[in-house]
């Protein structure tokens, strides 16, 4: 008998996701600091140590942190698969990933092999623990649904990303010869197009119709898109590894197919949102739209690179990277935080409370104005960072704008946790006086 997990008790304690959510803007702030410190160097080319440091502060420190915390929250609730020992796994994963990210970024920026070596160990251990916990949880699922399938793909893509990343970092840190130069493309490919991209699509299938009451994505699309992208990534990897230079045309063709898949997803998402039944202004919606526009732009630019348009400068690659990481991923994740964080606080307080009306509603937990201000500052940061590859001194104002945005985001998330504590304390006091 499939004992499906719909129970609140299976949801992890509120500290599990929040530990990760609160860390994210701190790493965003560190990245901003690096931009201001190293300035133009960060945008010179994707190979600059400062660029690698900044990239990983965002992808590991911000994106992976929130996504890890959110998956620990989502799995038990949505697919009925509790993560084993959630508190312990969350604490250890969080510690290993945070220290590992600091170590990796420090290793790149300061050119310290020792730091890169410890990063390989810490990040390897942290992600291994997380992936094992996710796999154990998914293996317990007995009622298969589309979300369960996507979560499997995401877990595999993350594992592949980490293995490729560890090999790259180990080659720098331990001086081990790199098995193949293709890893320089395979690692970011699996990270952004596998782990981040497939997770964004899988989450979109659920939350885009939910939040704005749009029509659903068609079953036709949801039944094949993520699998097709994943299969294309596998074949792309095989072509690069097994065929070498001879495989380049095939690899380019597959990469173009992946770009087309993501562009299609973004166009469909924007179209569904256009048909939304809830018409009121919403910051999460605006973050999603910015993300989807950037996704279309990133896919088109990347396709231009793949078909071999002559004379594209190095700055073009950095530009595509900023589009994908800051434009798409950061926007979507930032927007999602504004729904997940207030709702989780409301839900946990509501479940503990006895009296009606004692728990503030979501907009009292985090008001629209506070979200809107941060959204606008983040847009300024995005615009400056997109321009910076073309005129690198813009790294300074871009870094300052990103710092402002991350401080506002941190302030907003702290306000949410403060309300949680206040209401909880009030409830405890009320209980004591009875």
């Amino acid at each position: 008998m499939a004992q499906a997990g719909l129970s609140y008790e299976q949801a992890p304690p509120v500290s599990v996701p929040f530990r990760f959510f609160l860390t994210a803007p701190v790493f965003g702030l560190l990245c901003a600091g690096l931009l201001v410190w190293r300035g133009p160097e960060v945008f010179d080319s994707r190979w600059m140590p400062a660029a690698l440091g900044a990239t990983h502060l965002l992808t590991l420190g911000f994106l992976a942190s929130v996504m890890t915390g959110a998956m620990m929250q989502i799995l038990p609730v949505l697919v009925g698969a509790p993560i084993p020992a959630p508190r312990g796994v969350a604490r250890l994963t969080h510690l290993a990933l945070s220290l590992g990210t600091l170590s990796l970024a420090g290793g790149f920026v300061l050119l310290q092999p020792t730091l890169l070596r410890s990063a390989v160990v810490l990040l390897g251990a942290g992600f291994a623990l997380f992936v094992i916990a996710v796999v154990v949880s998914l293996a317990r699922v007995r009622a298969w649904n589309a979300t369960v399938g996507v979560m499997w793909l995401v877990a595999i893509a993350l594992a592949v990303t980490v293995v490729f990343g560890a090999l790259l970092a180990a080659s720098l840190g331990f001086g081990i010869a790199l098995p193949t130069g293709a890893l320089h493309d395979l690692h970011p490919g699996w990270a952004l197009l596998g782990w981040v991209g497939v997770l964004v699509i899988g989450v979109a299938y659920q939350v885009v119709p939910m939040f704005q009451m749009t029509p659903s994505y068609s079953d036709k699309l949801t039944s094949w898109l993520t699998w097709a992208i994943f299969a294309a990534l596998v074949l792309w990897t095989a072509a690069k590894l097994a065929l070498g230079d001879a495989g380049e045309p095939l690899a380019h063709g597959l990469a173009l197919a992946v770009a087309a898949g993501y562009a299609t997803f973004a166009v469909i998402t924007l179209d569904l949102q256009r048909q939304r039944r809830r018409r009121l202004a919403d910051v999460t919606l605006d973050f999603w739209r910015v993300g989807m526009v950037c996704l279309i732009a990133a896919a088109c630019c990347w396709a231009a690179r793949l078909v071999g348009i002559e004379g594209l400068p190095d700055a073009f690659d950095v530009f595509v990277g900023v589009l994908a990481i800051v434009g798409v991923a950061l926007s979507v994740v930032n927007g999602m935080l504004y729904k997940i964080a207030p709702f989780l606080v409301w839900f946990h307080l509501q479940t503990q409370s006895t009296g009606r009306g004692t728990v503030p509603h979501m907009k009292k937990i985090l008001g629209d104005d506070a979200q809107r201000t941060q959204f606008r500052v983040q847009l300024v940061a995005l615009a400056l960072l997109l321009a910076a590859p073309w005129w690198t001194p813009l790294a300074y104002p871009g870094g300052l704008a990103l710092a402002a945005s991350m401080i506002l985001l941190l302030r907003n998330l702290l306000a949410v946790t403060r309300i949680y504590r206040e209401v909880q304390t009030r409830a405890d006091l009320a209980r004591d006086t009875i």
């Binding site: 649904n145 039944r277 809830r278 009121l280």
Partner: protein, 147 residues
């Protein structure tokens, strides 16, 4: 043979429609429209809860012997939603748009994650365990008081 999942998911959509109309009216501070749209929305929600609690959940619990399982959690979430619906009603009466929109935002997330769990897990279990009875059960909705 009817599918419980298809029928009930359709009813979720119908409730969503009513929710969106009431929220839009409150957003425009058109309180006459908001009052009638909200009343229709609340009625649709009550009827949906009733279909589940009096007919489907009871049948499922009888068949599987799982009274403390997923249906219990769904009943608890119905109570949470009833609580928010009551506060939405007060906001309409008080013509308090900010309060209405904040409660509506909360209800939407609560309602949607609830629907998702029902549509992806519970209704499917029902179609599996109550196969053959679906037509009879869905026909019983006509006898409910809220109809």
């Amino acid at each position: 043979m009817a599918s419980i999942e298809a029928f009930m998911a359709q009813d979720h959509k119908a409730c969503d429609d009513r929710f969106a109309r009431a929220e839009a009216a409150a957003g425009k501070r058109d309180w006459a429209a908001a009052a009638s749209e909200f009343a229709a929305f609340r009625k649709a929600m009550e009827r949906h809860f009733e279909m589940e609690e009096s007919v489907l959940f009871s049948a499922f619990e009888d068949r599987t012997g799982m009274a403390g399982g997923p249906t219990m959690v769904m009943r608890e979430e119905h109570e949470q939603m009833r609580g928010v619906l009551a506060m939405l009603g007060e906001a309409v009466e008080a013509h308090d748009a900010d309060e209405y929109l904040g409660q509506a935002e909360t209800l939407n997330v609560l309602m949607q994650q609830h629907n998702l769990k029902e549509e992806q897990v519970l209704y499917r279990m029902m179609d599996e365990h109550l196969a053959g009875e679906a037509d009879t059960l869905l026909a019983r909705f006509a006898d409910l008081e809220t109809g």
